[in-house]
Assembly symmetry: C2
Homo-oligomer: 565 residues x 2
Amino acid sequence: MEEMKPSPPNSSPLTPLGFLERAATVYGDCPSVIYNDTTYTWSQTHSRCLRVASSLASAGIGRGHVVSVVAPNVPAMYELHFAVPMCGAVLNNINTRLDARTVSFLLRHGDSKLIFVDAQSRALVLEALSLFPLSSDRPLLVLIADDDAALGNQLISSSSGNVGFWCTYESLVERGNPDFQWIRPASEWDPMILNYTSGTTSAPKGVVHCHRGIFSITVNTLVDWAVPKQPVYLWTLPMFHANGWSFPWGLAAVGGTSICLRKFDAAAIYHLIRRHSVTHMCGAPVVLNMLSSGAGSSSDAEPLKHPVKILTAGAPPPAAVLFWTESLGFEVSHGYGLTETGGVVVSCAWQPQWNRLPARERAGLKARQGVRTVAMTEAEVVDPESGAPVRRDGSTLGEIVLRGGCVMLGYLKDPEGTAKCLRGGWFYTGDVGVMHPDGYLEIKDRSKDVIISGGENLSSVEVESVLYGHPEVNEAAVVARPDEFWGETPCAFVSLKANRGGQQAPPTEKEIVEYCRSRMPHYMVPKTVVFKEELPKTSTGKIQKYLLREFAKQMGPPSSRISRM
Amino acid sequence: MEEMKPSPPNSSPLTPLGFLERAATVYGDCPSVIYNDTTYTWSQTHSRCLRVASSLASAGIGRGHVVSVVAPNVPAMYELHFAVPMCGAVLNNINTRLDARTVSFLLRHGDSKLIFVDAQSRALVLEALSLFPLSSDRPLLVLIADDDAALGNQLISSSSGNVGFWCTYESLVERGNPDFQWIRPASEWDPMILNYTSGTTSAPKGVVHCHRGIFSITVNTLVDWAVPKQPVYLWTLPMFHANGWSFPWGLAAVGGTSICLRKFDAAAIYHLIRRHSVTHMCGAPVVLNMLSSGAGSSSDAEPLKHPVKILTAGAPPPAAVLFWTESLGFEVSHGYGLTETGGVVVSCAWQPQWNRLPARERAGLKARQGVRTVAMTEAEVVDPESGAPVRRDGSTLGEIVLRGGCVMLGYLKDPEGTAKCLRGGWFYTGDVGVMHPDGYLEIKDRSKDVIISGGENLSSVEVESVLYGHPEVNEAAVVARPDEFWGETPCAFVSLKANRGGQQAPPTEKEIVEYCRSRMPHYMVPKTVVFKEELPKTSTGKIQKYLLREFAKQMGPPSSRISRM
């Protein structure tokens, strides 16, 4: 059997890009993307993506170049998931809620050659570029103004100097070649995606996925969630979060329809579900929270006329939220993944006999992260010292480790960071969990510095470093405070400097919050500030965050919010 | 980006074997395999497979060794799709309906180390072994006697000499270790499967698939057929036919239930559909024929109480058969694949707007093979000389070529045969087809089945599909008959429906010819019609055209007919 070797017919690189071509053949006249009153068909989306890819190629963008996108879930954002890699480049989605300093850092770290900028993120990106060193090259700028040509032209003509816009997205479509021969990857290990994590350290990490990895997570998710042909998918998950967990490509594979939207609340979601007969949606638990807490008008949260499947991940969903969401007619699946895995790679695969249990017990079982999905080789909880699996007793803590086709290639320009988490044949997630006797794993604690607020991972270290910049602050520690709406919010424990000069009044909670607000994205700003004489420390002087976390937990959710539930 | 390279956590070999372990975790107490009155759960199937794998390893079977199976669709057959590769060996299913000489050839060609033999194939295999040269090593023999221990022991004790049985399958289960650490492939390109192509060629070829290829076809088929969680699957397709098109592994991925059976007719199928609420089944068009032609008692072919999905492939299904099968409540999907692709890699992806067409028109569209499935990179119809794609006009004949992850590694010990079909980046299928303007391909014939009459290439399949539309025709096959004037002329072999109503006279040759004449170009009309009780078929239900071709050759040129032209 030794003579049997791979050859071009059986080893052509795995990539999800071909799904688009196939969708145009099979579902050519069916809706691909719907946004407000605009509907595209798969033929049109295919043609538009080829046009944009050809325009990028004409502009000199090609293999290995990084192309960034700062945009919400508009049609251009969907299309760029194909168009950018179809010209050979690497797609780099950037969170629109970051501050200019961070965006500037990411653009330079990734050596971005071109940025697609939504009109509403224009000021953010221009400010980010103004922070570039004078000597450095500026990326090309393309404006996404939906199909509002007048707005586009006005914004472009009003920009000037070396940070001006090149053109609008629609003009790239218009001037492009619909018969462009798209650039297939030379190898399935070629980079396709660059996503920055907000991370557990103050320096964001650039997660690189290859074509094979993105193919794997895409097919994996379709099988795991049993996605049927032609679903109607509502984009309540930002595509800049791990590429919308691979659904831009997955929907092409099954001919689904994307319902795009810039922003949403409960009322918008319920309206679109009814209008388009939505069948599927994804979101962090905060989205479930929104649906079930009647965050919109009370009449919105009425039982659905047809079942809608929701896949939730990104944080452990509170059992109570699961319970309420399901009682409204949503069918919730719960999974787990990281930017480093491109999407959901562990899921709480539902066991039929659980349907006979009381609802709250069901919700408790569903709050567990679960078992590896089909494209993953293994998922374990191990002792981080020895690497040996922990006891399957549901209580022994260990680190969650994964291996399989969806794991990233590594962190860009960070061989040390890469080697730290990709070792011994495993990806070390940094998440702490237990393995239950039935083989389902459950996260007990995100790696201890991370706070997950409204689906966003935020690093306590980053917030602390800002607090430490305040002239009156002596020590600061930020931990998660449970919140029924946001999941968690940052809670800052602060001690003030001793020799402050007798006359001056100490800073108030409000002043500290305002200080932070001017220096970081809103979602990172502490919602609570607790002043302490001294922060608890270990004998070696490390602040004992676990004690503060306990304290924050005992404070409970902010009472003003409880009344709204 | 150049520093980004694959590493063990993201490049662990793709293989479908892990699906079993996962099924045991998620669906442990759910039925995996049902056979007569025996039901196994996924926990049991997992444990049984590990036991058998460990017993094989103890017997010295390991990496690269070929293990053969000669058995129908019994539970052991299902389990061996996991157990054999789990000890590192290569699974080699052998068609139970082959003759001893062929079986002997295959066993020696594959250098089989061990054979699992169903009790009913015992004589066949013993005869095959008796044809081995005296000097050659004999494989170990293991007897599959279902769970009939008495029969097993009796058959084993009655065997003797150097062709005796080692033990029964169940004893391998009993003595095995359920905690066996199964052997993962060292590389995803490691051989996992050896399948001999059947029937239609004189020299069988040993198709070798690797773990990656089998993973690809398995996931591919689940996505393409949109298989939900926990389907109930009736095994009307022999597992020895291209490993049941990958469903032994696919059913583990989705926790489905296999309804096993030794043999079947229409009555058995309808009975099992009702008894087990079957949701899915596969089969060559001959199975559809059986269901819709009332091959059993007339009461069997009654409309179903719930829809049953059938995936058919292996031969182009006549539109009339599709029409009748669907009118009974079956939802037919039509695909195309070869042993060399491990299963269905082109499928007639259904377009929603086709549902508005009249039933016969729908059936005509569904009889086309279609578009590539999601794990395949490309499917084309090319001019075999130049390699250039043919015009997309639905009439220009060319050879169907494929590339993608499901294509075989090659033919065992046949570098020439491999090089002949794996070339220029494509797998040349040897099938002749056309590309329709809408991008759907349609097979017109195997290259060797094309009839060249008066310089015109004509497709025997097209003639057959017209013949199938005749109300009295049960089965039809058209082959070339040598002709001194035309070179070749189409010669039709026809069997008539059994329950035709006693009084009516059977159609004559002249009537059949006239029926054809009004429905196709003159050059395509059969010049000869031969009525047969039954047409010769392979074990997988394919009509053995080479036998009919031989028959037509021996008839000689129709000298009397030349004068009539």
